[in-house]
Symmetry: C2
Subunit: 295 residues, 2 copies
């Protein structure tokens, strides 16, 4: 089955926080009818008052949505699918936004298979240091990457379907991966970044920073204030990978400390140079040639 | 001696890197004549070609500058002052930009006292992940904080003098402190931030980040590529404070790792909550009241 345009006419969004709220606004801006569910009545009232959301996502509206976006915590995603699976149409695409995938995808794949609808794991690579509907933005995903985790055996067309269904969010690129690989990489790019920021801010010197700080302090501490409930659940669901990554950064930090406390200037220089090379490689800018031009 | 306007007519800049080059551009934009010295002829040629710099800062021009800005590495600051002290007029204000102060200020204070000119330690709280004249910007300092380290015993008027002399850079605020206090705080706000970023990028997972990363990864790794020569010198000059700060962040990171590997969800939650509180306190936003409003 090929269609030229599988942008949905009607979308259901579960969870009107920063992530779900931003999807709701992007779809509403595209003229698509959005139904939503949130345990927080205030978020629902705000979204309906501003006409982002047309009405509640419930037994009556779930079967009519061609796309369901699940943007709540991982365990709540599973609970919502379990308690609403009977209302989901076999022609519906369901995409979750959980930022861990091993604990969510296999359960949802098997429910979807049994019920006949299509489930694809998703993780939009966008976020802010703020949470909640009031920070949601229609353009939060514009130009950003989206990770998709299809079932182990899948029709490649469902990837195209997902890309077309998500087109109102205007993602910049899509990465297809497995739940295991996703969780391993995200333990570093997102989770470790939050742990390091949280640890960094705990130095007593942080409280004296004003007038003595600029961009690097600001960057390192941007995400130090976080939603502890959400991140605790995400970290616990990915404890093996995250424990490993924290261990790596502790080991690396120890090398700088040891070089400094030994007064080993050559080693310290080498450690910094290796960091520069790793950064250039990670950004795809590495070459052995030294930089030329006016420094 | 009070003057209503002590903005200089003629400024000397030693070092046309990012920091000195940005001062040179800001002063040139304000119509002030800038003389400069740099061991890199290409930077001098570029600055003169674009008419930021009027000519070389040398035996002939040094005595005519009302303000000298020293923007080279700490040891080079001391060497420049030692080898040019005889040309500096007693009516000149000399401000360095070294990002460590204990190794620079006492030496320069004593030369200044002997020669009769005025020396104030300085550290502009601005920078980029790039170095060199080609990245210099006239507005690099606009709205940013500037740290001033006056001699132990000083006429408070020299602070006003410095503020007026630096007015073309348009700093947002000035902090007055001692060399010891400066070095202790900067070990955290700037140096530790660079060490952590350099260590963070060394996880093998960093090389797989593309398509799986967003703002938090970008922030944590922004300064990982750095000028190893410069930072090695800065770190060695502040090894005691920096060793201490690296130790603190290693200890803090260990707490998260231990909570995770024990599966201690309550402890992990508490650690994250404490980080959020520390961040709010550091930003001056802390109150015991819980946030209200739509989440």
């Amino acid at each position: 089955m090929f269609e030229t345009d599988r942008t949905p006419k009607r979308v259901g969004v579960v969870g009107l926080g920063l992530i779900g709220g931003s999807f709701a606004k992007a779809y509403a801006d595209a003229g698509i009818e959005v139904f939503a569910a949130d345990i927080d009545e205030r978020a629902m009232n705000a979204a309906m008052a501003e006409e982002t959301v047309a009405g509640p996502l419930d037994e009556a509206t779930i079967p009519t949505c061609e796309l369901l976006i699940l943007a709540v915590y991982p365990q709540a995603i599973i609970e919502w699918v379990r308690s609403h699976e009977q209302f989901i149409s076999p022609s519906t695409l369901v995409i979750d936004c959980g930022s861990v995938k091993r604990s969510v995808c296999p359960v949802c794949f098997s429910i979807a298979e049994r019920r006949g609808f299509t489930f694809i794991g998703g993780h939009p690579m966008a976020g802010l240091q703020y949470s909640g509907y009031r920070h949601a933005r229609a353009d939060l995903y514009a130009g950003q990457p989206m990770v998709l985790v299809p079932p182990e055996i899948y029709d490649p067309d469902i990837i195209l379907w997902a890309e077309e269904a998500l087109s109102p969010a205007a993602f910049g690129s899509f990465s297809i991966t497995t739940a295991a690989k996703h969780d391993q990489i995200i333990a570093y790019t997102s989770q470790l970044a939050h742990v390091v920021s949280s640890a960094f801010i705990k130095s007593p010197t942080a409280q004296k920073h004003r007038g003595f700080s600029a961009g690097s302090y600001k960057d390192l501490t941007r995400v130090a204030e976080l939603n502890a409930d959400m991140w605790t659940e995400l970290f616990m669901d990915n404890a093996d990978n995250l424990t490993e990554e924290i261990g790596v950064v502790i080991t690396e930090l120890g090398r700088y400390r040891d070089a400094l406390s030994r007064g080993d200037e050559a080693e310290l220089h080498a450690l910094l140079e290796q960091g520069s090379i790793a950064k250039r490689k990670a950004d795809g800018r590495y070459s052995d040639a030294r930089e030329g031009g006016v420094r």
